[in-house]
């Protein structure tokens, strides 16, 4: 195969390392077979009430979760959050549902849409959708489709607009689905986000808002 030949000439160590690995593995390790392989149900408590768990975990993760009844209520909550922020451009994932909500919530505000490229450093907030919400860890799963990579990390405030059917019980479900749907072939990037950016590098003291957002807000709509 020409590709292998090229790899060989540009990277002579490749074959040597593989040979060393194969030679090394010829002697097997002695392993006592475990009585039974562990199942997820043994390791983690099954999630009984995903919504309740998600809300609890959001509190633990120092993120905000607002339950809204419909898109009008969501727009109202979004307007409140945006008003609490300093003046300045906001970055929004270019999606029809977000266009509707953002136009209701922030008429006249300077907006950069994800279809126009990456967010600017000066943007005050980002509004995106999520691929899924994970109850077990109070996380949101975003991909490059949710406005790109910088959307969830450049601005000091990240607002996620999601609906209840997007809520999955645990990480295993979310990752299993991503695997089946080949999410990472369709997107160059995905991220499980569990709270605002933070550090405890000085004297183990928690500082909220390190290199990424200080605030992570989930607007969770009960109806589509």
């Amino acid at each position: 195969m020409p590709q292998t030949d090229r790899a060989q000439s540009e990277n002579p160590s490749r074959e040597q390392i593989l040979q060393r690995i194969r030679a090394g593995l010829r002697t097997p390790v002695k392993v006592e077979e475990p009585a039974a392989t562990t199942s997820d149900r043994m390791i983690f408590e099954p999630i009984q009430n995903p919504l309740e768990r998600f809300q609890q975990e959001c509190i633990a993760n120092l993120m905000e979760c607002a339950l809204t009844a419909d898109s009008t209520a969501s727009a109202r909550h979004l307007a409140d959050v945006l008003q609490s922020l300093p003046e300045g451009e906001i970055f929004v994932q270019d999606d029809p549902s977000l266009r509707r909500v953002v136009e209701l919530a922030a008429p006249g505000r300077a907006i950069r849409w994800s279809s126009q490229g990456a967010p600017s450093e000066a943007s005050q907030a980002t509004v995106t959708l999520a691929e899924a919400l994970i109850a077990q860890t109070g996380s949101i799963l975003v991909t490059a489709s949710c406005g790109g990579r910088g959307a969830s990390v450049i601005a000091p405030c990240h607002i996620v607009y999601a609906t209840i059917p997007q809520l999955v019980p645990d990480l295993a479900t979310a990752l299993g689905r991503a695997s089946r749907e080949q999410t990472l072939d369709h997107n160059s990037f995905a991220c499980v986000i569990s709270g605002s950016s933070r550090t405890a590098d000085i004297e183990k003291i928690l500082v909220q808002g390190a290199h990424g957002p200080r605030r992570l807000v989930v607007i969770l709509q009960t109806e589509r």
């Binding site: 990277n11 160590s13 390392i17 593989l18 060393r20 690995i21 090394g24 593995l25 390790v29 392993v31 475990p34 562990t38 997820d40 043994m42 390791i43 983690f44 993760n61 279809s115 490229g117 990456a118 450093e121 860890t137 996380s139 490059a144 489709s145 790109g148 990579r149 910088g150 959307a151 990390v153 990480l171 295993a172 990752l175 991503a178 695997s179 990472l184 072939d185 997107n187 160059s188 990037f189 995905a190 991220c191 499980v192 986000i193 569990s194 709270g195 605002s196 950016s197 933070r198 550090t199 405890a200 590098d201 000085i202 004297e203 183990k204 003291i205 808002g209 390190a210 290199h211 990424g212």
Partner: protein, 472 residues
């Protein structure tokens, strides 16, 4: 002549363990880790089952390492990414340096990666005239201090906020008005934001290489790892060949376990998965994606079935945190990239048993490290095996061999043993009588120097044994 690694270790260990301020800082740091870690463990229903699962995942990966690495490579290459296999530090550094030169890179932003510390990538790039910014807050601090990370997870845990405020004042050329951690973080954020937006290349490590999905997984709390891999036009991943795991779903256990063992969190704030450069239609992301797979002695360790499982390590730092030796001598004393129990096991394999065999003795063999390891590496037994291997390889000194021969002889001849005990008690009685305890003339100087003198028994153990038996 410069001191050997073993002599430096002994000197630094003596200084650090007598430095009460240092001990207080580390004690406070470790106390808060302990509390968080226990709380984190309570969130997992069956911690032992979780450890067992992680061990199984890593064992499967390591024992089919060629297959999973090739699967990972194929997926990455299919999307246009580049995978480079580096046999050693030189090859890895040369690849990144040549790439940077070819693509006209002036500035690099780095997220935390112990492998880049191991191969000294930062130094190699700086030598080529490239500015390198460490962007993890702790790494940024130790980079300004021109020292290596103190700990593999919290690189600046040996410093107090006041020291960091002074450091920033001196090195960043701006007025520092407070030593509040939030304020200091905000200062670093502003400085590093400029770096993120001017750098042409971002370098990250990888906590895991996911074979079936062909992606790298990075865990970060600060978000610097996200910025490094989002903004610059080139993304280079530098990581060890042992980081591969079979399936994306494996992260459902590995992520919570890594976070719990690393910091006590239920999950790290950002669990990022990246499979390549920006795809068409995506808003942003780098134009090029390179993965450098570093061997650097790992395949040799793989060939040792007794210690192969050392490659299961996920670099959580739990064994450092619990180790009574680490807690007293601190991270820098080890003089290695990887400190603590895992470093003491690994370093002789990576950097030579002759120079680093002393680390196998920097342990009381209490087994605390083994008890907390989330992938169940039998750390303290591997330290014992390293001691044996060093002796078998003839890496011991003639004086040491002579001493052990004398000891063996005494153990086999009770009269000689008794004579030895008697003369030691005599010598100590004289030394103590002259007030020489702890001095250079004290046979127990190693112990008595920093402690109240070892009490002198009135009689030998054998005499007491005889007396007690007679009394019964």
């Amino acid at each position: 002549m410069s001191a050997t690694a073993a002599q430096r270790f002994l000197q630094d260990a003596a200084v650090k363990s007598a430095d009460l301020m240092h001990r207080e800082v580390i004690r406070r740091g470790m106390d808060s880790y302990d509390a968080a870690h226990l709380k984190g463990r309570a969130r997992i229903k069956d911690w032992e089952a979780a450890r067992q699962r992680c061990q199984e995942i890593k064992r499967e990966a390591i024992n089919h390492l060629d297959r999973y690495l090739l699967q990972f490579e194929e997926k990455v290459a299919a999307r246009g990414g580049h995978v480079f296999w580096a046999a050693n530090s030189e090859e890895a550094c040369a690849y990144v340096k040549n790439l940077a030169t070819r693509l006209n890179v002036k500035t690099v932003v780095k997220s935390k990666s112990m492998v880049t510390e191991e191969i000294h990538l930062g130094t190699a790039l700086e030598k080529a005239g490239i500015k390198v910014w460490e962007t993890d807050f702790g790494e940024f601090i130790v980079q300004l201090r021109e020292e290596g990370p103190y700990h593999i997870v919290t690189p600046a845990m040996h410093l107090l906020r006041g020291q960091i405020a002074t450091l920033f004042q001196e090195k960043l050329g701006q007025k520092i008005e407070s030593d509040d951690p939030a304020y200091l973080m905000a200062v670093a954020r502003r400085v590093l934001r400029e770096a993120f937006f001017s750098a042409e290349m971002g370098i990250s490590g990888a906590n895991f290489l996911v074979a079936d999905a062909g992606v790298i997984a990075i865990s970060t709390n600060e978000g610097n790892g996200r910025l490094c891999t989002s903004i610059p036009r080139i993304h280079v991943v530098v990581t060890g060949i042992e980081k591969v795991i079979p399936r994306l779903e494996d992260l459902a256990v590995l992520w919570p376990v890594l976070a719990t063992s690393g910091t006590g969190q239920g999950i790290t704030t950002y669990g990022t998965l990246i499979g390549g450069a920006r795809q068409s239609g995506e808003a942003d992301g780098p134009e090029e994606f390179h993965v450098v797979l570093v061997d650097n002695g790992r395949s040799q360790l793989l060939a040792d079935p007794e210690q192969r499982e050392v490659l299961h390590c996920i670099r959580c730092g739990a064994c450092l945190n619990i180790c009574p030796v680490f807690r007293h001598v601190g991270g820098h004393t080890y003089g290695t990239t990887y400190p603590g129990p895992i470093g003491s096991v690994l370093t002789p394999h990576l950097n030579g048993i002759k120079e680093f065999k002393h680390l196998s003795y920097a342990s009381s063999l209490c087994g605390a490290c083994t008890s907390v390891c989330p992938v169940k590496i039998d750390l303290h037994h591997h330290l014992l095996q390293n001691r044996r291997n060093a002796t078998e390889a003839g890496a011991t000194k003639a004086s040491e061999r002579l001493m052990f021969r004398a000891w063996r002889h005494a153990m086999l001849h009770p009269r000689i043993y008794a004579l030895g005990g008697w003369s030691m008690r005599k010598a100590l009685r004289i030394a103590y009588g002259l007030g020489l305890q702890g001095s250079i003339l004290d046979p127990m100087r190693v112990w008595n120097r920093y402690r109240s003198p070892v009490p002198l028994p009135a009689e030998s153990f054998r005499a007491r044994w005889r007396r007690d038996r007679a009394a019964n």
